[in-house]
């Protein structure tokens, strides 16, 4: 085990503990001392996560996009970065960062179940368009995760009027939708570059469209039907589940069904049979 994989390994339990502590500090308000402590620990945890990401970048020689192990790491970092940036504007770090720590640790727990071997990027992924696509996708997920945290906070704050949270929920929904659209567009353009066709009903595409339509529907309902506050929050939570499915569950599909399964151990079964169709 390298230092980077060991760090990755320990980020999971430590993130779960720190995240839970932060949430508990918010729920049990008597323990005032726990809030700043959990906040500091969450930030330190985020710094360790960033270090792991940098180490992985150096070892792999490319952006950590290749396979479930690497993509979990990048998404976890994106969630932390977006949460910290978002909260730094509001001045109440503890809950968003704690929730972000929990979700990021859960992502890493999923990533840890997959092969951590660093592979060089194959020609199919060597393009700045892929880099743009991946970065936009990470931040789309990060912003929509913040949307989910704002929704959760809103639902947990019984009776509390929280215009800031409501505003954050709507703004993050809008920004996340724009980024998700950017992700779809850049993916479609790259698909055309790689296969000569912009769309092929790959499950990664259909799932991403389902999430995009769901968020688009929420935006329409907010604009035209006046959905706001707790009602919108409940639906944001529901749609976030769709987003998680679209980002994290493609790896459970049969390897032949999607070109987006980038785990080498799974992909080699496909490439060894079908090399003539398209070099990987």
């Amino acid at each position: 085990m390298t230092f980077e994989t060991t760090l990755y390994h320990w980020l999971v339990p430590s993130g779960l503990v720190i995240g839970h502590a932060g949430v508990a500090a918010r729920v049990f308000r008597q323990a005032r001392w726990l809030e700043p402590l959990a906040n500091s620990l969450a930030l330190a945890w985020g710094a360790c996560l960033a270090l792991t990401w940098v180490l992985r970048y150096r070892v792999a020689g490319h952006l950590p996009i290749f396979g479930t192990y690497e993509s979990a790491l990048s998404l976890a970092l994106a969630i932390m970065v977006v949460s910290v940036i978002w909260e730094s504007r509001g001045g109440r770090r503890v809950v968003f960062t704690s929730l972000a720590t929990l979700v990021a640790a859960a992502l890493l727990a999923q990533g840890r179940r997959f092969d951590p071997t660093p592979y060089a990027l194959t020609i199919s992924e060597r393009s700045w368009v892929v880099d743009v696509h991946a970065i936009v996708a990470w931040f789309a997920f990060g912003v929509l995760a913040v949307n989910n945290f704002a929704a959760l906070r809103l639902l947990l704050s019984h009776g509390e009027k929280s215009p800031v949270l409501r505003r954050w929920m709507v703004v993050s929904l809008q920004v996340g939708f724009v980024l998700h659209t950017g992700m779809l567009i850049s993916g479609s353009i790259y698909k055309f570059m790689l296969f000569g066709t912009a769309w092929s009903f790959d499950p990664i595409e259909t799932l991403a469209i389902v999430a995009w339509l769901a968020y688009g529907t929420l935006l329409h309902l907010h604009l035209f039907a006046g959905w706001d506050g707790r009602l919108l929050a409940k639906w944001c939570l529901g749609v976030f589940v769709l987003l998680i499915v679209s980002y994290r569950c493609i790896v459970y599909f049969p390897p032949r069904s999607s070109y987006h399964i980038l785990d080498m151990d799974r992909r080699l079964h496909v490439t060894s049979d079908a090399t003539e169709e398209s070099p990987q």
Partner: protein, 431 residues
């Protein structure tokens, strides 16, 4: 008579327009498309990709796309007068109840009120009859139009692609000129309805450079350098198509070995020599060819980097470092024998000597003519620009009204509540 016939249609048109342009219909249609696509994802887990693509082209999908387009078109049409109004640099909302208010100091004069509005993000502030007015996100309504209008371009692109896309798969060896001769064509996919005949691009393949990840069958590099008739050299990769004309794209899509065989007589005179492009990649695959002037059947397997391991011939990597060719020669059903030949070595049969002096690469190139592709990219660009115009929220207006003598003034705000400035107090019962 015509008037009588048209009357029932005209009578129902406003209702129909309201139905087709309603946001409720938009919601229903979006949910239906999401549901359909969810089913497609389930099918993708259970069926091969071509089955999923066939399901995705069934009539219910087209019906819902058409309904969405009609709904979007009617919505945009009905919103057009409002768009024209909102893009103008003049107050449009101040006749309606404001969404929020901000109290200002009693001694604020109009000049400083303009500064305050600018600090809150309102531009183009202007003194009006009642006070000072400003607008924010003036172009946001245009963003909505661009984003939704781009759907028509995207659907037009899809239609063009379905009707007119064609694709040639050709194979060309290093040093060979592509001239669209039949022996260079591997496969053609023609469109169903329209075929826009275009002269094929001509080029010479100067080099093909593959690199592999260790001993795995994973390319870390595969590119072809092409020379075009105008003398320009361009490099294409599997993920970097060359744009040759408005809607013609040329890219490297595959790769293989093209050994040159030489048949000589016992005196060493060359009888026949030619490159044969063979499907012998990856190593282990076998292909065959027949010389032009002889009835033999020659089966070939290329070992790009052979080695002996415990007396067994193995292949170490995919790089053509010191290649060998495993041949098996037969005539009819009679097997004449075979051997493993290094470059320059020969195998003799029936008075002929077979040798392979060199092995080159061949590239498979995809020549895609897709009139829908540029339209699609323009559609994407417009949609994204539209979203960027909207990202700061919808159009907001602010009107500073001075208070009565000695009283505090008020900034009245109109616009989406999520984008109102900090410190604003929502008005009870505001929309």
């Amino acid at each position: 008579m015509w008037a009588r016939l048209l009357y029932p249609i005209r009578r129902r048109t406003p209702k129909l327009g309201r139905l087709l342009g309603s946001w409720k219909l938009s919601i229903v249609l979006m949910v239906v498309v999401a549901f359909y696509y969810g089913l497609l994802a389930v099918w993708a887990a259970l069926s091969p990709p071509d089955v999923v693509r066939r399901i995705a082209s069934l009539i219910p999908f087209w019906l819902v796309y058409a309904a969405l387009l009609i709904n979007t078109g009617v919505c945009l049409w009905r919103r057009l007068p409002a768009l024209q109004r909102e893009l103008r640099m003049e107050p449009t909302a101040i006749k309606t109840p404001p969404a929020a208010r901000i109290p200002t100091a009693a001694d604020l004069d109009p000049a400083h009120a303009g500064d305050t509005l600018r600090e809150l993000g309102f531009k183009n502030t202007d003194e009006v009859e009642d006070g000072v007015w400003g607008v924010r996100q003036r172009w946001a309504p245009l963003g909505t139009f661009l984003f939704h209008g781009a759907f028509f371009l995207v659907m037009a692109a899809v239609a063009l692609t379905l009707l007119a896309r064609d694709e040639d798969r050709v194979w060309v060896a290093v040093g060979e000129e592509y001239s669209a001769s039949p022996d260079q064509i591997l496969g053609r996919a023609r469109p169903g309805a329209i075929w826009i005949q275009q002269p094929p691009p001509r080029f010479v393949v100067e080099s093909i450079s593959p690199e592999f990840w260790g001993d795995l069958l994973l390319f870390t590099r595969l590119e072809a350098s092409l020379m075009f008739p105008d003398g320009r050299r361009e490099v294409t990769r599997i993920n970097r198509p060359l744009w040759k004309g408005w809607w013609t794209f040329l890219r490297l899509s595959g790769f293989g070995y093209a050994p040159r065989y030489e048949l000589t007589d016992r005196q060493g005179s060359v009888i026949e020599s030619s490159f044969v492009k063979m499907r012998v990649f990856p190593p282990g695959q076998r292909d065959f060819f027949s010389p032009e002037a002889f009835p033999h059947h020659i089966e070939v397997e290329v070992l790009p980097d052979p080695d002996l391991e415990d007396g067994e011939l193995v292949n170490r990597s995919f790089s053509l470092t010191s290649p060998a060719v495993k041949v098996l020669v037969s005539r009819g059903r009679l097997v004449l024998g075979g051997d493993v030949l290094g470059l320059g070595e020969s195998f003799e049969f029936e008075g002929l000597r077979l040798s392979f002096p060199e092995i080159r690469y061949w590239g498979e190139f995809a020549i895609v003519r897709d009139p829908g592709a540029p339209v699609l990219f323009v559609g994407f660009a417009i949609a994204f620009v539209g979203l960027l115009l909207k990202i700061g929220g919808g159009r907001s207006e602010a009107l500073w009204v001075p208070g009565a003598e000695g009283q505090t003034g008020t900034i009245h705000l109109w616009g989406p509540s999520a984008h109102l400035p900090d410190g604003s107090e929502p008005v009870e019962g505001a929309p």
